[in-house]
Symmetry: D2
Subunit: 309 residues, 4 copies
């Protein structure tokens, strides 16, 4: 079993699709090879960037199988078990565990409006039901609920969760959690834009959607941060922040925020030759040619060309 | 095939659970018999009151099978195909259709942040993929997105949706939709508290969670409204509004809103002998004894005792 | 003192401005004459439609003086005392009372985040400090806080408030309040689109911003409702709903919602010759020519031409 | 005129009140002396911590006069001109300027729902109307609107605003603004909990409400940050974060968030002898004895006793 002291760069992989809309095995394997070659420390399949909310049963199974196979134990494979209720999450988590995932990543329940004690009950029940470690995932923009410092601290103390992925954007609570959980409880930041800051504040790793496009940048940032070279980390962060503007090129009057952001990641990856096809699952609408050209220009400015194969 | 000009009282059935947490077939069959005996015009399984977000695959299958069997064609059986993304909704809808559901009930996508055009694309794709009519379900409190009058009008014009269930609480937009869709496009209100008003404004039916507890009240209300006896409908509505206070007895400092409301329905139903057990799916926490006694007192005041079997 | 059993149509008057941005006395007097001639039952100055949040001290004073003079006791003059905190509201309320207002209209505190008990304390303190009746004003879209049925019921029982203006859009709570307050406690609806429905549910009056443009329509609606002619009231409501589409012609990518709605009222009034100038206070941006033409077309369709003077 | 390259610790002073509810001159002068003695670099009167939304005209005048007099030119005196609309803000700003304020601090308009271009128009109009520099104040929790990086960058480029006070809690946008505005455009953070982080990210100063209670702590933090001693700054930040827990002792079931936070600052200050009376303006409810004792315990743990006079 790989080291689950989660750390380093753990990109939340996009789910490459072929022209029929099914998982594109070749592209996903190429992506994984590209990420491992860049030096990432883990792979997270079926996160928000992986369109977890849009994947059907076969797609979820496919990405897990492919990733476990392609990672071949080199780094941990995390799989999202993201769903509205406890029993549904347990179904996903068990499937992921059976397919060889090293950990599952679980949000608060949603659609329902839970009390914090029900959020805790959710994590306890999932933990009790599955044979694979649970990473708690705080993403209020998607689920409408926070994992408060009290909730996270409790989950850490009980060892119900083995780590936190924080996509809340709230560094004050991140810091409060860091003060209150044991030093060896990994906190992973989901922020593309404050990765170096989160490292300074005690993050052990980074889970950046943009890491699909430029894993080398985040690996350099992470290594600079670990080495204590804050200026180098900040410089890399600034460069990545400019690259991150790809998520804003889509016209919000035409397509939704999620379609614009995930579409931009995939468009950039297709432009670089990392995946074959920028398509996203329905009902997300595609970027148009103008938007894709804008992304190409940003890539060029960032010095990101086609990858060699 | 039953008449799908949806109308009348179509309760969103709770999902009765036994002590092991599985679907309690006997209770569900008793509930359906009780509702049919009260004169309801349809059954809606796997709605928000049916804990759709908390049901696993086996539970979803069980409630559909039991309901289709118990209804035996007497009234239409609607089944929720409520999920975050298009492909997932199609999976649910196909299963429901295979098991004999007469229609599926579909919300806007959630977790993702869709553009209205993506909401329309979602409904179109579901409609194209399944052999069963689609009822559009507007429930912004759960999904965070409105089905705007533009979206609904478009779905009606294309016959992508055959009806709307409106749980938005916004009668101004309800009325705008009523003005804009064909007269034979059924609008069903999800409001327990404004059912008579919605009827006056052109609703063809009512989908009240509280109808699990007191279907006779909503049937009386509906029939009075259809007969043009607004005063009788309003009187019944006032009585039901007092009964609806059961959803507020739970302590919001202890359990969440959903747990308090669904728990109250089930507690009242167990007190009346309609179902055997008030349990809800995890992670919802149960009502306590004080809360259950408060519900018993409200039932007594409403003149609702044990049902005869 | 005019009858303060508030009832009937009480338009929230716009604040006409001249080209220098000061209150346009002639236009305001013409507006008041127009409204009285149409048969309104009260005048509400300095409401949300009156740009209360954008008026400076001199403008507030001017509209109150002009209205008290022009109304000449024929109908009650209500004046908004809308501000963030208790002492500020008391300052406004005292000035309004000194200038002859018959009642002041007060919202929950805002900018601060109050507890419901602090909202009650706010109304109690204002009531104790001024010699003029207080009308409670529920407008969560502007202040971010609801006046809950509990709060309103308490204010009514203590006679701290003499009436409620409900701009919440929530007819379920409106109805709960109606059930719980004394029958002679006036509830005024701020809804342009559900005025007839609110009347059926026990409203004693209507405070429609659109009543600046078409007071005759709302007077007809009100009188039909009082006479029990629900069909005539509904027909008028449908007509007014089409007219209300003027608030949506502005491009939300260019100017804000408030500017679009208030600008539409004033543009329509200027087109009808009720006021001289459609200008709004800074920082609201003006409608453009295309938008104004769209409003003219809607007016024409509604059969609303220039008023005779 | 003092140096308006705003920098350093600029506490947003509470407004001390006497038993009659008026401004307590002696306490305010003592507070100012205490802060200056601690080494602060500016004074901000009439901010959110100064109960700006709850002050009447006389109170606003009093705090400005007292502060300008007590500061005596030693440090800049900033005064909040916080209100819903442009003309009202101009009234406040002119009064502040006449009384000797060195700058005014202005938020986005609120109550109304402005477009970003209207926010810009607001700042331009205030800037054009007053003879005192304008500091832009981003506080979405109070006003419901963000000052986006685009808005701030534009205000900086036009010199309409001379600085930004950022109370958004969003360090990603803080950082984007830092990248886009000139290096000499001061960014002040309103965060009590991320002050050291904001300094590392390019803040030139800190505006901490908690600085009323422990200005020495923030001065030490600031000086450590400027000296590049990040560890010392972080250690001080951790100490202050523990002290900041005073804002959470109040029971949210009894009093509002604002009352709890501002009441805690004032209770701590009264316990330390900095001000005579912990009272807040109506309608905020006071802390109770248990809550005040909890604050005393936290002060003791932080080593903060009575100040010498």
């Amino acid at each position: 079993m790989p080291d689950l002291r989660l750390h380093g760069v753990v990109p939340p992989l996009v789910t490459p699709l072929d022209e029929s809309g099914e998982v594109d095995r070749a592209s996903l394997e190429r992506l994984i090879a590209f990420l491992l070659d860049a030096g990432v420390d883990g792979l997270f399949l079926g996160g928000s960037s992986g369109e977890v909310a849009l994947l059907d049963t076969a797609q979820r199974r496919a990405i897990t199988e492919i990733a476990v196979g392609a990672a071949a134990g080199a780094v941990p494979v995390l799989v999202g078990a993201v769903d509205t209720g406890t029993r549904r999450v347990i179904e996903h988590a068990r499937q992921a565990a059976e397919l060889g995932a090293d950990a599952v990543v679980v949000t608060a329940p949603f659609y329902v409006q839970p009390h914090p004690d029900e959020v805790v009950a959710h994590f306890r029940a999932v933990h009790a039901a599955v044979d694979v470690p649970v990473v708690a995932y705080d993403i209020p923009s998607a689920v409408g609920t926070r994992l408060t410092p009290e909730v996270v601290t409790g989950l850490a103390a009980e060892r119900v969760a083995v780590a936190l992925k924080d996509s809340s954007g709230d560094l004050a609570s991140f810091r409060e959690i860091r003060r209150r959980v044991p030093a060896d409880f990994p906190l992973l930041t989901g922020s593309e834009l404050l990765a170096d800051t989160a490292m300074q504040l005690g993050a052990s790793g980074i889970v950046p959607g943009l890491g699909n496009v430029d894993p080398h940048g985040y690996v350099r940032l992470y290594r600079a941060a670990v080495a204590g070279d804050d200026a180098a980390a900040a410089g890399e962060q600034d460069r990545l922040a400019r690259l991150f503007t790809i998520v804003s090129v889509a016209d919000p009057g035409r397509i939704g925020f999620t379609a614009g952001a995930l579409g931009a990641f995939k468009a950039a990856m297709a432009l670089r030759g990392i995946i074959a096809n920028p398509a996203t699952n329905p009902p997300l609408l595609p970027l148009d040619d103008t938007e894709t050209k804008a992304i190409a220009a940003i890539l060029e400015e960032a010095g990101l060309g086609e990858i060699s194969r």
